[in-house]
């Protein structure tokens, strides 16, 4: 309880509340502009967070992510262009609603359900993470090894594109993590006599490259760098939303739950949560025929799910140090930079820090309602800002910010190199998140492996000797085998079904 009161003290400071407010505006602005994603918003804030205390730094990330994910809905409804990929699943539906003259209901539902989903995920985060942290305290290097491997493997399986492409992406990320001094002997791997390489690849410039530079490269090759004109008038946004919420409350709760879970699962994030809950909502809907004509139900499902997933992703990130999505990958990078190692010990040693994050989550999701409504009202002006002015400025910001962190030209080389690589990968359907997670977690994976194998005196069976370790090991191996086993199981199932069907016909 004392920790909670301390946490209120940490948050109720002018600098923290101002940071939360400004980052919220920043998130709303970038999220609303098509092409600028929530991850990019956070990547751009990273250099600033480097110079802040940990609590306002986390506040900046929390505010920007929650708002950017919601703000992606705005151009979806107005222009049929999602502001971020996390709003793509229902942009069409929401645009059709606006064409029917129900723009206010579409966006009003979006803002209220986003706040609902975000708060739901935050409550799960508040309740589940201290409990999980208790369990995590029992973990040794064996469990951490499996857990990290499991997280990375699920990122490959879940990611867009084929498993081979996911595996290539992961292997490249892991390889980047091996640059620099190795844990076993302190040998400078892949340094080629260069001092910067011997020190290893910094995660933050790599993240900024992967999420900002790659996006800039992609956008400057598009035709349309003009601002967009909005003609619709926007009336009362909250009218009719209560009715929608009452009618679809089951959808809201179900999708928030699924969203939180998908957020926590490494490799999936807000975008997958929206596609999945939209599809599930349609499957169980009593009004399936209305989908595709401008139906509010899908918007209820997906709006709640994407914001819930943003909160859910923090659970594994803080408890185990394994990010649930690319946004929390950046969070972990920021924490590392501040000398804070995410894991169960921060729940024991600095519970007030964790509570402060909880409180900021609740504040951010409550602020979303007035700020979100404000952003919708101002959307005409936000969307009028032409990308041809924004992108050069964003590029300069990434350069200055990345350089400022360590006054290091090498960081700029890393940012540019990873940015170009990520651009080429995305263009060729190689998922980028496994690479990012590999770079972030590679050292942890190798350190836990080496620590374990030394403890076990070279015996591999020790990886299955402890009960939790054995369970995690079996789950990981099952994930690996799933691309082979699932098709075989499917084949057996269909052949059996055919046989039984044929038999019953004969009878």
């Amino acid at each position: 309880m004392n920790a909670f009161i301390d946490a209120i003290g940490l948050v109720a400071r002018v600098d923290v509340l101002l940071t939360l407010t400004f980052s919220s505006f920043f998130g709303l602005f970038l999220g609303a502009i098509p092409g600028l994603t929530a991850t990019m918003a956070v990547a751009l804030l990273v250099p600033l967070t480097f110079f802040m205390d940990p609590v306002p730094a986390m506040g900046a990330v929390v505010g920007a992510t929650a708002m950017a994910i919601f703000a992606g809905d705005i151009p979806g409804a107005l222009l049929r262009i999602p502001g971020t990929p996390a709003s793509a699943a229902y942009a069409e539906e929401s645009y059709l609603l606006s064409q029917k003259g129900e723009l206010e209901v579409a966006l009003g539902t979006g803002v209220i359900l986003s706040a609902f989903g975000g708060l739901f995920g935050a409550v799960v985060f508040i309740v589940a993470s201290p409990l999980l942290a208790e369990v995590a305290l029992l973990f040794s290097s064996f469990e951490y090894f499996w857990l990290t491997l499991m997280g990375l493997s699920s990122a490959v399986i879940i990611s867009r594109g084929s498993n081979v492409r996911g595996a290539v992406s992961l292997a490249l990320g892991l390889l980047m993590s091996t640059v620099g001094l190795d844990i076993a002997m302190g040998y400078p791997r892949f340094a080629f006599g260069n001092v910067d390489l011997a020190a290893g690849i910094n995660i933050l410039p790599a993240l900024i490259g992967a999420f900002a530079i790659a996006e800039i490269l992609r956008t400057v090759t598009t035709t349309d760098l003009k601002g967009r004109e909005i003609k619709q008038d926007i009336g009362n946004l909250l009218k009719g939303v209560g009715k929608v919420f009452r009618k679809y409350k089951v959808n809201a709760i179900r999708s928030s739950l699924i969203g939180t879970f998908l957020g926590a699962l490494p490799g999936s994030g807000a975008t997958m949560a929206t596609y999945m809950t939209f599809a599930i909502g349609k499957k169980f809907s009593k009004e399936k025929e209305k989908y595709g004509t401008g139906h509010i139900e899908g918007i209820v499902d997906s709006s709640a799910a994407n914001n819930a997933s943003v909160s859910g992703a923090w659970v594994p990130a803080l408890v185990f140090g394994i990010p649930g999505d690319t946004l929390t990958a950046i969070v972990i990078g920021v924490l590392f930079m501040k000398g804070i190692n995410p894991g169960p010990t921060i729940f024991m040693n600095t519970p007030e820090f964790v509570f402060a994050i909880f409180i900021m989550f609740v504040i951010a999701n409550l602020l979303m309602i007035p700020f979100g409504i404000g952003a919708i009202k101002l959307s005409r002006h936000i969307l009028a800002v032409p990308p041809k002015i924004l992108y050069p400025m964003i590029l300069m910001t990434t350069i200055v910010g990345t350089y400022a962190v360590h006054n290091s030209s090498f960081d700029l080389v890393v940012m540019l190199g990873v940015g170009i690589l990520a651009y080429l990968m995305e263009e060729n359907n190689f998922p980028v998140p496994p690479m990012v997670l590999g770079l972030l977690l590679g050292k942890l994976l190798e350190n836990n492996f080496v620590g374990s194998i030394i403890k076990a005196q070279g015996s591999y069976s020790a990886f299955f000797a402890r009960p939790i370790s054995a369970v995690l090991g079996v789950i990981t191996l099952t994930i690996w085998l799933s691309p082979v086993v699932l098709p075989i199981l499917k084949w057996i199932f269909t052949t059996l079904k055919k046989r039984l069907f044929a038999q019953s016909r004969e009878e």
Binding site: V164, A167, M396
Partner: protein, 164 residues
């Protein structure tokens, strides 16, 4: 995500071949790493495993690419390939970063950012130079104040050292 027409796609066989060469070089290079006495695990083990995984994946990609060779050309670029302006803009991104590495120390933050951002804005905005210079000036001043005055980050002063 913005548009479907701005793609730049290689045949899988091309990517696979590059990755295969890379993984072979990687595997050769890790041979030079020292090994730990009395232990199977050394500095080379993890990179070697990754090299093997990459090698296997690259062979799969090469096979797939050869199978798809009729439908997928070696390199396919969207309609933007015909527009020199897009290529120029694309090249300006890495050039601006590299320029910062080599020139910002000498010219200083304020001069480099003002000049390079002005050039970018003039190019992106079809030669509206007055507007571009003004925007670039405002941007430079604001970021300078935020980083140097608010966050107390030492940015290179360059030619203006002693003045700012």
């Amino acid at each position: 995500m913005v548009s479907q027409e701005n793609y730049m796609k290689f045949n899988d066989a091309v990517i696979g071949s590059v990755l295969l060469v890379f993984s072979i070089l990687l595997l050769l290079h890790v041979q030079s790493f020292p090994s730990m006495p009395l232990s199977v695990y050394g500095p080379a083990s993890f990179p070697r495993l990754l090299g093997i995984i990459l090698g296997i994946c690259s062979i799969v990609l090469i096979i797939r690419g050869i199978q798809d060779r009729k439908e997928v050309p070696l390199l396919e670029i969207g309609p933007w390939r015909k527009l020199p302006v897009r290529w120029r803009r694309m090249a300006m991104i890495p050039l601006t970063v590299i320029g910062y590495i080599y020139l910002a120390g000498f010219l200083g933050y304020v001069i480099y950012v003002f000049i390079s951002l002005s050039l970018l804005l003039i190019d992106f905005n079809g030669g509206r130079w007055k507007f571009s210079l003004l925007s670039s000036g405002i941007f430079t001043v604001i970021t300078y104040l935020v980083f140097v005055k608010l966050l107390l980050v030492p940015l290179p002063a360059g030619l203006l050292s002693g003045i700012l």
